[in-house]
Symmetry: C3
Subunit: 431 residues, 3 copies
């Protein structure tokens, strides 16, 4: 979000926008849950939804305890790398409006960042280990979020442009996903018969999840103006058309890609990957793009992701829901795109007086956008590796082979699918 | 929407309402997707969701390229029939707020209009042909939308009242559905054993879809005041109670109808048809009805739709999700209802000083409402026929018999349901 | 909702908040539907969704006809027990804004209250009897809602604090559920093999439903400030963080409880029960709690509910979705918690100058909160008993054994699951 003002100057009109947007963003958890649940095999479809709930529960605990402070703390010792203070956030009556409205909005971003990784770890990650990961991973997101959005964050000082969390949410999530997928190793038997992915447990649920994410993204991008007063609503409106136009480009690119790459079949996972990737890639500059620019950004973002997936598969990196491609590769493109395409804006100066390479701004903006992406990738790699490595010493992060084959729904939640399916009952009757 | 003002006078309070409403309306795509997916047979349930996504993608492209301009363009050559200019919509910083907020709201209407037709074409329409149709069909909606809502549109000049798109969205969609269903011919075997519809693939999903549409409709109708400033919020509040009360009437009528017509069974499709039809029929005058009037309008709208369905079936017109009945017949009633029931309003003069037949307004309002309905039906018939006829020359719009029997989920998306169902695995284990 | 002002003073900023919140609350109907549908066995999953729709239809009719008047009527004869007037609510143009905005918000609460009971009656309640119950039950909610929220309501005069309907919505629903579950008797065979619940028909759908309720609850609690102008938005922001933090505590408590009570398994129903119970328990004081207080309130609320469930089972009280535990026990705790924990607030004086026992307020607040809970429990017990007893004379509320075994989906809606499952088709092919 663009904290373009003293939070204390938030009016109730701004608060309405901020809170409504955050409520919309929370619905994205339902979307992620359904998408991931639909992508995995039936025997894990409930467990992955529980993991998405855990992201709000343990992620929410961590964000309240230390995450918000790491990002936006302004206490003694706050430096360009990390915020200090505001732990276990609370506020008196005078300040509670602006602080809590800011908190709830930022929290909706934080829980999203962790949820991304749950997809890449699906079907083979121990549940308890995941709970610990979910709690700690908050810090992995919160520190770079402060770099980009805290007043004295070092990337903010360099004038990096990341309006709705392309680097801090998606690239962190995507890069962490890559490390997690490598460390967890592929699902048993995943690459035994080539690189084609196993069938999705419920393509219909996955599509519903994608739909929910699509509309939730409007809250994500438009809410990032962090208000409507003054000129902010105008940027919010531009974010809306950029978001939709990006997905228009991304959807067309995905259909075209799949038609060519998969012998005239429109694969559901390619389609979902393309649309979500286009939405990821537009986040960095959503409030700054012209509609036609957003269309191009989305088109390229979609292709980047869909080209990434087969490469990962060939490297035997198993990412059941495509989190690395969607949130990693496309987010890199999203950060670069700002450095290439964006024009200088005058009303709120979200681009800080800089412009992209093709807009006469020279190499500066592209340079810092690239730098931000590289730093955040390295950060996420290192932190996630250390985190999972440490957790693995406590609780093995990989499920036992027996548990994996039985499925987490049975192992963790005692769900026996044969009790549930009516066809089984009928089967017995027939026999 | 009621463009009761110069768009340049939109305040940020209005923008908040307009954008929030449009975000809610976009969730209706999830609703349409689930509803249609639940109504068709399992072998097509994913494909129909992809088609709903295509409506946003290709419909969104068309609306950006030419649709918005056809509806609301004000360039040289604009006339009562069609708007000119504003193609590939863009805006400078000064105007972007009002133009993009208006655009995103209108776009949410436009994508809905196309989605309606996808239901009537379900289970037998070629996917590629549908993509082309979805792109071009935008014009079929946009031109009459301009007649009703553009400042110099010829139906607007006549003072036709259509607040939330009863004629321009639903009647266009319903009439196009009728033509499409006739041209595509029934699904193979549909009427071999009488007129009873085949079982729904997932009545639960269809019900969830209906629920989503229900709440989305509040955004649809209440957002159509196009703001909250001045007296607008009062009409928005009246739209809310009218919307709910209409569905109250529609739901009761549907339960009663089904109880009588289907030997004390409450058929799910009748129920969904009735509720959605009541919501359609209240759209034309939503901000003008008293609560008890809305109840009556919804009750009649529900019955009109539920009576239409068996007639269509007897004519062997195959409409898998009931789009013609819900969006066609009820929309005709909705347009007429305004001409019969509506009182003159004074705050914003949405009824343009006219009143309905029963309210001492004489025949004028009823006359022009009827005229608008007739013109829009003829327009939609002609355009959709020409469009599908032309597309059919390029790509046969009807799937091959072999493809139809195999189902679009397999043919287009390579989804093999036997791989997915756990019962199958268990089956093998048992044997 | 806190009607802290003359409704006539509602501004359009307030109206935007009130209406947006109510639209969000309506989405909770989808959540309740999916949750209940996922909890029951497959043979009833559609019927329970229809019952949820019926709650809006017949509940909406009742609320319009007499419910709103019973709660908020101010006509001659209005007394501390019941409001008089405002039946068949309507308004002229001058007043329609505030009256209809108020109505739509209160309606969203009313339909929720009835829906709660549908869960406890699932799988064995006659559908027609339920429709009558749904219509009449509105009064059971509306009268105590007036006690708490109408200007001269006797509990309001005593300064009972119930910001978002902990007692009037949830406790009424929970207590009514207990009576209904006892009167309906357990599902056939429910306790034949011990107290373990039968498997959920679709844990995935139940989880999606829980997610939808979670985000909808933000509208429920934050909307209850009934506006954003003045200091109201600050309380709305505090409600948001309290709501989320409560669920954080509730989720952790539920995972811990289930891990201990169910041999290291995380049971889905325990998890859902815990999260929803925490959300229920925070409603009474949502706008007044500090974040850490909300965490504690939610933790205890979650445990209270999860301890209640096995007790009910041991008493052979069959509540298929856990409505009594979630909305009953936790709501009692929620009312008491205010009396124990809440500090005096100064901006809007929502606590009416009182403070909880631990905050130096003495026993008064705890006393009246307890009193309110007791009175509302007795009221709900008595009314629901009388209501169901009377309906039972007209139409037996319990389904016949034959119908129950066949399932309401077939009996009421003619849904034959064997027609729908693809595995069956394949089965035939294989044989």
């Amino acid at each position: 979000p663009v904290l373009i003002q003293d939070p204390m100057s938030i009016s109730w009109d701004d608060a309405t926008w901020i809170m409504t947007s955050s409520f919309i963003i929370f619905t994205m958890q339902s979307g992620f849950g359904l998408l991931e649940s639909g992508c995995v095999s039936k025997k894990n479809e409930v467990n992955i939804m529980v993991k998405n709930a855990v992201d709000v529960i343990f992620g929410g605990l961590g964000y309240w305890m230390f995450g918000y402070g790491m990002s936006f703390g302004q206490g003694a010792g706050t430096n360009p790398f990390i915020g200090i203070g505001s732990y276990f956030i609370d506020a008196d009556e005078k300040e509670m409006g602006s602080i809590f409205a800011t908190y709830i909005f930022q929290l909706s971003f934080a829980t999203t960042a962790t949820t991304i990784v749950s997809g890449a770890m699906a079907e083979r990650c121990n549940f308890l280990a995941y709970c610990i990961f979910s709690f700690c991973n908050t810090a992995v997101f919160c520190i770079p979020a402060g770099w980009i959005w805290r007043k004295n964050g070092f990337l903010k000082t360099l004038h990096v442009v990341d309006i709705a969390g392309c680097a801090s949410v998606h690239l962190v999530g995507g890069a962490s996903s890559l490390v997690a997928a490598i460390m967890l190793k592929p699902r048993t038997g995943r690459f035994d018969h080539g690189i084609e992915p196993p069938p999705m447990g419920s393509p219909t649920n996955a599509m519903v999840g994608m739909f929910m994410l699509w509309w939730g993204w409007l809250g994500f991008n438009c809410g990032s103006t962090f208000g409507v007063s003054g000129h902010k609503w105008k940027y919010a409106a531009r974010s809306a058309i950029a978001t939709i136009n990006s997905s228009v480009g991304g959807g067309m690119a995905a259909l075209t890609f799949s038609y060519i790459a998969h012998k005239k079949k429109f694969m559901i996972l390619d389609f979902i990957t393309g649309i979500l990737a286009s939405l990821v890639s537009v986040t960095a500059g959503c409030a700054l793009y012209h509609p036609w620019e957003a269309l191009i950004v989305g088109t390229i973002g979609s292709l980047v992701a869909n080209v990434t997936t087969p490469i990962l598969n060939k490297l035997n990196i198993d990412d059941p829901v495509g989190a690395i491609a969607v949130h990693g590769s496309s987010a890199i493109w999203g950060m670069l795109a700002v450095g290439i395409i964006v024009e200088k804006d005058s009303l709120l100066s979200l681009s800080k007086g800089n412009a992209g390479l093709f807009r006469g701004g020279g190499w500066y903006l592209l340079g810092i956008q690239t730098l931000a992406a590289i730093i955040i990738i390295i950060w996420s790699f290192a932190c996630t590796f250390l985190l999972l490595f440490t957790i693995n010493k406590l609780i093995p992060i990989r499920m036992s082979l027996e548990d994996e084959l039985a499925g987490a729904d049975f192992v963790e939640h005692n769900i026996r699918y044969e009790w549930n399916t009516p066809s089984k009952v009928e089967l017995c009757t027939i026999k």
